[in-house]
Each structure stands twice: as C-alpha cells, then as structure tokens.
C-alpha cells in the first residue's frame, strides 16, 4: 500500500470518529460548533476520497454532506431518523475504508450500496420545506482595536454608506490564518477574496518581518483585517473551514466617526494593533513540513507520540552512552590490579548510575506507549444511542476521566470488554420504561463510566441505576449449571455469589438473561481482565443498580512479584493479588469439614498449602507457616508457603513451546544469578486442583 493510501485510511478513520462524536453531541445539545465539525469531517473525507478511484465513497459522503447542509441552513432539524441515516452512512464509509486498506478497490457491491444509501439520504434531505431565516446578526464582541488603522477618508466614506443604507451591517472581520495552513492547501487570499461586500482590507505580519534571507514563505504570518457590508451567514459560509481562525463583529456608526459627525481630528497610526497576537512559529529558513499534530487518537497500527516524549528518550540515550563509556575505564583499572575494594566500590557506583538510567529508560518507553482511555470510551456514546433507540429505553451515558492514560495494550483490550458491559447494562440492567415509572425512578436510565488511575493501576468503573442483580437467581442458576454445588451455596459471601456471573458456565445469553439480567460476554470480560492481570469486582443492590469495577495494571511490561519458597524452590506470586503476608502458628489453623481455614480479624478464609497445590511433599514437622493472603476473584485466600523472600520488579516472559499450554504458570523471568523463576497464576492453580 502506498503511503498516500495509508495516510488516507488513517485520516478517514480519524475523521469518521470525529464526525460521529460531533454528530452525537449535536443531537444532544444542538451545538452549532459540533454541526460544523461533522460537516467539516465529512467534507474532508469526500475531498480526500477524490484522490482515489472510489466513486462509491464519494457518492455517499456527498449525499451526507447535502443532508447536513439542510440542517446547517436551518431547513430542518436533526431528528433521530436523520441521525440514523447519517450514522449509517458513516458506518458504511468506515467499512469501505477498512476494505480499501487491504484491497485495491472497494467491494463489488459498493456502487449499488452507495446508490441505495444516497437515495435514502436524499429522500430525507428533500423532505421538509425550507423555513425563512429571519435571524438578525448578533453582536459578538467589542469592535477590534485595528479599526484605529482605518484612514479618516475611509471612515467618512464607510460612515456615509452606513448612514444612507441603514438596513445593512458593516462587519469588522479579523482573520488569523493558521501558521501551517499553506501545507494543507489553504490560501487566505482566496478566502479573503470570497468575502462579499468587502470595503476595506489590510494584511499585517504577526511579528515584524525578518530579513529576507530568513523568510520562510511557507509559514503563514499574515493576519487579515477586513470591513465588509455582509451578513453573519455569508461570513459563516466563507470561513466555514477556518472558523477557529476568524472573529467578526458588527461595526456601529460611532465606532467609525465621533457622534458629532466630525471626523476624528487626531489619527493614531497603530502599526500592531492586535490585542493579543496568537503564538506563531518563528519563521525559519527551513522549508521542512511542520511537525505533525501530536494528538493520540488511536489507530491500531501506528502510535502517535508526543515529540517531548521522544525527546526525553533522546536525552536518556545520551546519558546512557556516558555511563557506558565509564566501563572501559574501569576495565583498564581492573587490568592494572589496583585496590580491589576501591574497584568494587567504583563498579557499584557505576551500577547505581546505570540502574537509575534503566529505570528512567523504562519509564520513558512506558510513557511512549501510554494512551488515553478516552480513545475507547469514544465509541460507547454511539453504542448507547443505538441500543437505547432500539430498545426504547432512554439512557444517558456519563463519561469521566477520559484523559486517564494506560498502556496501549491495556487500553485497546478495554474496548471489547466495555462494549459487553455497556450492552449488558442496557439490555438487562436498565429496566423498561414502564418498570422504571412503576418503581418511581427517573425515566432516563443512567450509565456512569469513569476511569481513574493510581501510580500503577487504572481503575474503570461502570455503574448503572437499573434493577440490579438477583443474587438468589444467579446462585440457583449456578447450581443448575453445575458451576456450584448445592452444599456450598449457603456459605457463599455476597461478593462470591455475585462473582458467579463471570463463570464460563453462566456466560451464555440463554443461561442468564432471564434470571439474573446479566451474562452475555461476562466470561469474555473476565478473560480480558485476567489476561491483563487485573481484578474485577461487581457490586449490586437490587432495585438500585449494579457497579462493575475493574482494575488493570497501567502497564504490561513490568510486573511486581513476591518471591516465595516452596520445598526449596523459588516461585513468584503476582503482587497485585497479594493483600498481606504474615507468620502463622500451625495451632492457629483450624479445620472445617476437612478443609484448613484461617481466621484473620474475624474473617475466615480457606488456607491452601502451596506444596500441596504443586504436588510437593508436605512439611508435617513444621510449627509455623508463612502465609500470603491473596485476593482472588474478590475473595481472600490464605496461601501457606515455606519462606517469604523479597518483592521485585521483573519482566515476565510468557511460556513458550511445550509449556505454552500450562495455565497455572503465568510466565517466567530470569533472576540475577541466571536462575529461571516460574511465576504462578494462583487462581488458575486453584482451579486446576
């Protein structure tokens, strides 16, 4: 695929996301800026599509653009059917873009589909008659300071025009084109030429002109100031694609001449009347294209990284080189048989320096991979809207913490899980309208999705105000499905009972939908959380709602483990499951129905011996055990081990080859002395028991 195609595909995806987000926003609060954003995005896609032989895509975007135009012109409101048609068009374009990424052309049926969509959209666009637009231009702000620069003659001329043609409005337009607008094909001269009723024009550099040798003609440094007899609508049209770069305000007669009709006696020639010129890149002699925008909207194949983060890596590389250069010097010293003690101290110092750099390097690389969770949140408003329309349940989605960052892998794996959870919450959590009314709840259901992060975890919470989970029904179903024995059922804590919804046996729609109101894809969610070494908890209050919280490590690459000894062999336990460690006398361990249990602060939990889990011989003669309290699926479990060692940060390598299928081991890591350490997956180990 050529670079142009790659760029087109990436760009289309971004604009599609932007368009649907803005469309949903406009539907919600009728924000004109959002409508312009939709229009701009669709228009840009249409324009870019012109570079390729994909007429179907152009047909659809063109029709969508026409429809948007009727909304923009106030000829009709964006009613839900219109929004549906537009979203369908965006979806189709998205599907074609995906196809186009892999194939030289669009699918064979593209032309027919495009025609069908376009006909449908056009029928909607043609529906209502245009309404008369009687909106009067409204003043936006005080007249700009540059009015001072208009010569007395021009002021008189314009004042006379205003006085004699009272129906017309003179607009003062301040146009500050983007410094890099030339690179995207912009020409402010063309824009300015399009302003109807232009009476006065001035172009001023934002900063004083550099010397001719230093001028970069491709960085736009000109600001344009215009006076024109026109309308706000006409200006909106002209500056449609530059609305962030322009401001206008109607000019009153007294802004031009003193109220006593005398021309101002004193003229101040202001060279730089701009109140606050926006920061502009200094013109440089280089003609390199400008730096790409440093946003991080996710494309799955590439990673957009802020330049500063790369710079940080560059700096570290320099420091690392310096540290490396110290080593030959130490080697020469060692060869010369100098004082061993002093040499050892120097090596340790150097080690400390390299250690610090390694840590910083690691942190810097992690930061490169960080992505805002907002990238996966952004597809949910659409899902909520569609489901809510389909099921006639009004649902509001409240997002917070979109800017929370986590590793790219973590964020991307969140996407699917969130779709399952949101779908479940709307399908089964939020009650039908009648039921909500009867229960005295607000008709509109609320879903709250929030993200927060701590130093090493990102915490995602999805709360609904629906009917909650029927705990007894879940337990009954679990027994029926053989997930749970009837004997165990009464002993279940509330957490454990609710957690049953994640069991694979309960994860099909048919099994759970009718009883618990939960279930579709819950197993998939649990699997995702597990894969990412996270934890998931569910809390539910019948009639009030359900909250599902999952905590995932911010980053996958480095994990914190606790090293323990079992029968003389070291094993690693993932630290995120460890709640506490303690030394317990054998006499404190009780037995209930043949199973060992430990009571800690009035909480009784099962006690398992790691030796027995691993089929190692027991230690009957021991008087004490070291116990690690782990939280597994929301419940505490005490794990007795022979000895406890330190915690450490390691990079876990997944098992490969013949050991690949062994789920009881999460992976391996290399200890400092070259020994291989197996990292245990306790939840799996218990499950396999």
């Amino acid at each position: 695929m050529t670079e142009l195609r790659t760029e087109f595909v990436d760009e289309c995806r971004e604009y599609l996301v932007a368009a649907s987000e803005a469309l949903l926003q406009f539907e919600e609060d009728a924000d004109r800026a959002a409508l312009h954003e939709v229009f701009r995005s669709v228009h840009t896609i249409k324009g870019a599509a012109g570079l390729f032989e994909i007429p179907a895509l152009t047909t659809v975007t063109h029709a969508a653009e026409d429809l948007l135009n009727t909304v923009r012109e106030g000829e009709q409101d964006l009613h839900p059917a219109l929004a549906d048609a537009l979203l369908a068009a965006l979806d189709q374009v998205g599907a074609w873009v995906d196809h186009f990424e892999q194939h030289p052309t669009l699918p064979d049926d593209a032309t027919d589909r495009a025609e069908a969509l376009a006909v449908h959209i056009r029928s909607l666009a043609a529906a209502p008659p245009p309404q008369a637009d009687a909106s009067a231009p409204t003043p936006r702000s005080a007249p700009p300071g540059w009015l001072e620069a208009v010569s007395p003659d021009d002021r008189q001329r314009l004042a006379t025009s205003l006085r004699h043609r009272p129906g017309r409005t003179l607009f003062a337009v301040t146009y500050t084109p983007d410094a890099h607008c030339f690179f995207s094909g912009g020409d402010p001269m063309l824009v300015v030429a399009d302003v109807p009723g232009r009476e006065w024009l001035r172009a001023e550099p934002r900063t004083p002109w550099p010397s001719l040798v230093d001028l970069d003609p491709f960085i736009c440094v000109l600001d344009f100031q215009l006076l024109a007899f026109t309308t706000a609508e006409a200006l909106e049209d002209v500056f449609l694609y530059a609305e962030d770069e322009v401001s206008w305000t109607p000019v009153a007669l007294h802004d031009l001449v003193e109220p006593d009709d005398e021309p101002p006696t004193e003229q101040v020639q202001v060279v730089q009347p701009e109140p606050a010129p926006p920061p502009v890149a200094e013109p440089t002699p280089s003609t390199d294209p400008p730096e790409p925008p440093t946003e991080r909207r996710g494309s799955h194949r590439s990673l957009k990284v802020e330049v500063e983060r790369i710079d940080a890596l560059m700096d570290l590389t320099g420091e690392l080189t310096v540290a490396k250069n110290a080593l030959p010097f130490l080697a020469r010293k060692a060869a010369a048989h100098t004082d061993g003690q002093a040499l050892s101290r120097e090596i340790l110092e150097q080690h400390a320096r390299i250690h610090r750099l390694c840590e910083e390097f690691q942190a810097a690389v992690m930061r490169l991979r960080m992505m805002a969770v907002g990238t996966v949140f952004s597809r949910l408003p659409r899902l909520v809207r569609d489901l809510s329309r389909k099921q006639s349940k009004p649902v509001r989605l409240e997002l917070s913490g979109e800017e929370t960052e986590a590793d790219k892998t973590v964020v991307e794996s969140l996407g699917e899980a969130l779709v399952h959870l949101v779908r479940n919450a709307i399908d089964h959590g939020i009650e039908p309208l009648a039921e909500r009314r009867a229960a005295g709840k607000p008709e509109e259901g609320t879903l709250r999705l929030s993200a927060t992060s701590t130093s090493d975890e990102v915490c995602i919470t999805l709360a609904d105000d629906g009917r909650g989970i029927d705990q007894d029904a879940v337990v009954a179903r679990a027994i029926e499905r053989g997930v749970l024995s009837a004997a165990d059922a009464p002993g279940l804590s509330r957490q454990e009972a609710l957690h049953l919804i994640f069991s694979p046996g309960l994860s099909t729609a048919a099994a759970v939908t009718d009883v618990s109101g939960r279930g579709v894809g819950m197993d998939a969610v649990r699997a995702m959380v597990h894969r990412n070494r996270g934890t998931i908890t569910v809390d539910s209050e019948p009639g009030v709602g359900t909250t599902i919280t999952f905590r995932l490590p911010l980053s996958m690459a480095v994990s914190h483990i606790l090293v323990v000894d079992s029968d003389g062999q070291p094993f690693g336990l993932p630290m995120e499951a460890v709640r506490e460690t303690l030394k317990v006398a054998r006499t404190d361990i009780q037995t209930i129905r043949g199973e060992a249990v430990l009571t800690l602060r009035e909480q009784t939990m099962p006690l398992l011996y790691l030796r027995s889990l691993l089929d190692q011989p027991a230690r009957p003669d021991a008087t004490h055990d070291y116990v690690v309290v782990l939280h597994i699926h929301g419940s505490p479990i005490a794990l007795a081990v022979d000895r406890l060692f330190e915690g450490m940060d390691v990079v876990v390598k997944p098992l490969a080859g013949v050991m690949e299928g062994l789920s009881a081991y999460r992976g391996t890591t290399m200890l400092g002395d070259g020994q291989v350490l197996l990292i245990l997956d306790i939840a799996e180990l218990i499950r396999c028991r």
């Binding site: 084109p177 030339f182 020409d187 402010p188 001269m189 063309l190 300015v192 030429a193 232009r198 006065w200 024009l201 001035r202 172009a203 550099p205 002109w209 550099p210 001719l212 040798v213 001028l215 003609p217 491709f218 736009c220 440094v221 000109l222 003609t287």
Partner: protein, 82 residues
Amino acid sequence: MPVTLDGDLIALSGTCPVQDAEPLLKLLQENPSRSVDMSSCQHLHAALIQVLRCAAPRIVAHPDPLPLRALTLAVLPAAPRT
C-alpha cells in the same frame, strides 16, 4: 512559467500557486533591487504576498484583472504613477 526574470524585472503571470513563492523569494534574495510586474497575473497565493511584503520590491504594475487588483492594492504598496 508564472515567475520569470527579464533583466532586473520579475514578471508574475497567470495563476501563481504556493510553490511559486520559492522562486520569487530566490530572485529577490539574489538581488533585492529587482522590480516586480504583476500586470498579467490572475491570482497570487498568500505565500507570494508574504514574500512581496517582506522584500518590499518596487512594484511597477499591479494585476490588470480588477478583483485581484483590488486585493493586491489593499495589501501591497501601490505602483508608482507613470
């Protein structure tokens, strides 16, 4: 060729797109005392306007087409009366 040099006179003709800013800038950097004739120019990209504003060469003629002439007269120094 929209940007041409004849003696010490730079002629801008036809539609001058953004790329023409570079040759124009070169010619004016080589010799800032060169004059500019825009009489047969149909459109001037803003990048060229910037070069002309920064270099401030003597302009012997503004474009003949009126709409463009109105623009260049507003943003560039006037041509001397002949």
